[in-house]
Symmetry: none
Subunit: 152 residues, 2 copies
DNA sequence: TTCACTGCAAATGCTTTGCAGCGCC
DNA sequence: GGCGCTGCAAAGCATTTGCAGTGAA
C-alpha cells in the first residue's frame, strides 16, 4: 500500500520544469496561508477565501494547494478526519491548541517541552524531516459549568 | 463544529452501555486482526477476509472496526492517504505514534512528559474531560536513506 | 421471542478530472 | 499569441446510513 510522499520537496530546479504563473487565485491562496500559522484543510481555506470576498473555485483551491505542496512551499499533514491540511513552511512561531469539544473555542498554547520531546524521540528512532501535530480536546470552563448545571 | 476526541480512552464502564453480541463476522474480523501486527485499512481487511473465504460485507467491516475502536480494543490511525487504519492494541496503555510519511511504518512511543504537560495545560485553562492527540511524522531511517540516494 | 447485527444498495461528502474559455507572460 | 490556469460540472472513492431479514442470547 503506497503512501504518497507529498512532503518530499523535489528540488526546485527549473531545469526542464514547467513554469508557475502567478495568478490572482494563487496569490490569494498564498496570502491566506501567510495570515494563518495553523494547519487548514482545503475546504476551510476555501471558506476563508469566500468570506474575504475572494472568488476561487473549490477545484482550484485543491489544485493550488497540491501544487504548493509539490513544490515544498507548504507542509502537508492529515488531520484526525483524514483531510489533508496545509501550513506555510518555516513558521517561527509554532504552537498548539487546546480546543473545547463543545463550543469549539480554541486556546493557543506553547509547548517547548513537547517540541523538544518530539524532536528527540524522532531522532532516537532515526527519523528525519520531522513534523508533528498536538491537539488537546476538552470542555472549556464555560461548557464545564453548563454540563455541571445539567444543561449539556 | 463538533470535535471528537478518539484518543481520550473513555472509561470502559459498561454502566448503561449496550451489549455486544458475538457474531461470526465480529469473530472473523477480530481473528484477522490478531494475525496481523500491522495497520490495515478497512478496505484491506475486507479483501483479506474475502480471500480467506469469509463473507463479511464491506459495510459491516466498517461498522465492526469502528465499534472495536470505540471500545478501545484497536488502535486507529490515519495513513498518508487519509484512510483510517486499524491495529490490535496490545496494551491498554495510552501511547502515541511516530509515522513514516513515505512507507507508513509506525513506531509506538510513550510520552509521559507530554501526558502530564497536556493535563496541566488543560487544567491551567480550566478545561475538563481532557483528551489529546499527538502524532509525529517524518521519514524513517530506510526512507531517509532512499531519499539520500536520490531514489525518492 | 427480542433486539442487535448483517447485507444490500442508495446516499454523502471530500477530492479529482475533462473540457472550454480566460488571462498571464 | 501561446499555453498554463480557472471554473464548472461530472466522475471517482472511501465511508456512512436506511431498511428489512437473520440469528445470538
Amino acid at each position: 500500500m503506497p503512501i504518497d510522499a507529498k512532503a518530499g520537496s523535489p528540488p526546485p530546479s527549473q531545469a526542464g520544469g514547467k513554469e508557475q504563473r502567478v495568478t490572482k487565485q494563487r496569490r490569494a491562496v498564498s496570502a491566506a496561508l501567510d495570515e494563518l500559522d495553523d494547519f487548514v484543510s482545503t475546504q476551510e481555506l476555501y471558506r476563508i477565501l469566500q468570506n474575504q470576498g475572494v472568488s476561487v473555485s473549490l477545484a482550484t483551491a485543491y489544485r493550488i494547494l497540491q501544487s504548493l505542496a509539490d513544490e515544498g512551499l507548504v507542509d502537508v499533514l492529515r488531520n484526525g478526519d483524514g483531510e489533508a491540511v496545509y501550513r506555510r513552511c518555516a513558521v517561527t512561531g509554532h504552537h498548539h491548541h487546546l480546543l473545547c469539544r463543545n463550543c469549539g473555542k480554541a486556546v493557543e498554547v506553547e509547548a517547548p517541552a513537547v517540541e523538544t520531546w518530539a524532536a528527540r524521540t524522532a531522532a532516537d528512532h532515526g527519523f528525519t524531516e520531522v513534523a508533528h501535530t498536538v491537539e488537546i480536546f476538552g470542555l472549556c470552563p464555560d461548557c464545564t459549568a453548563l454540563k455541571a448545571a445539567g444543561k449539556l
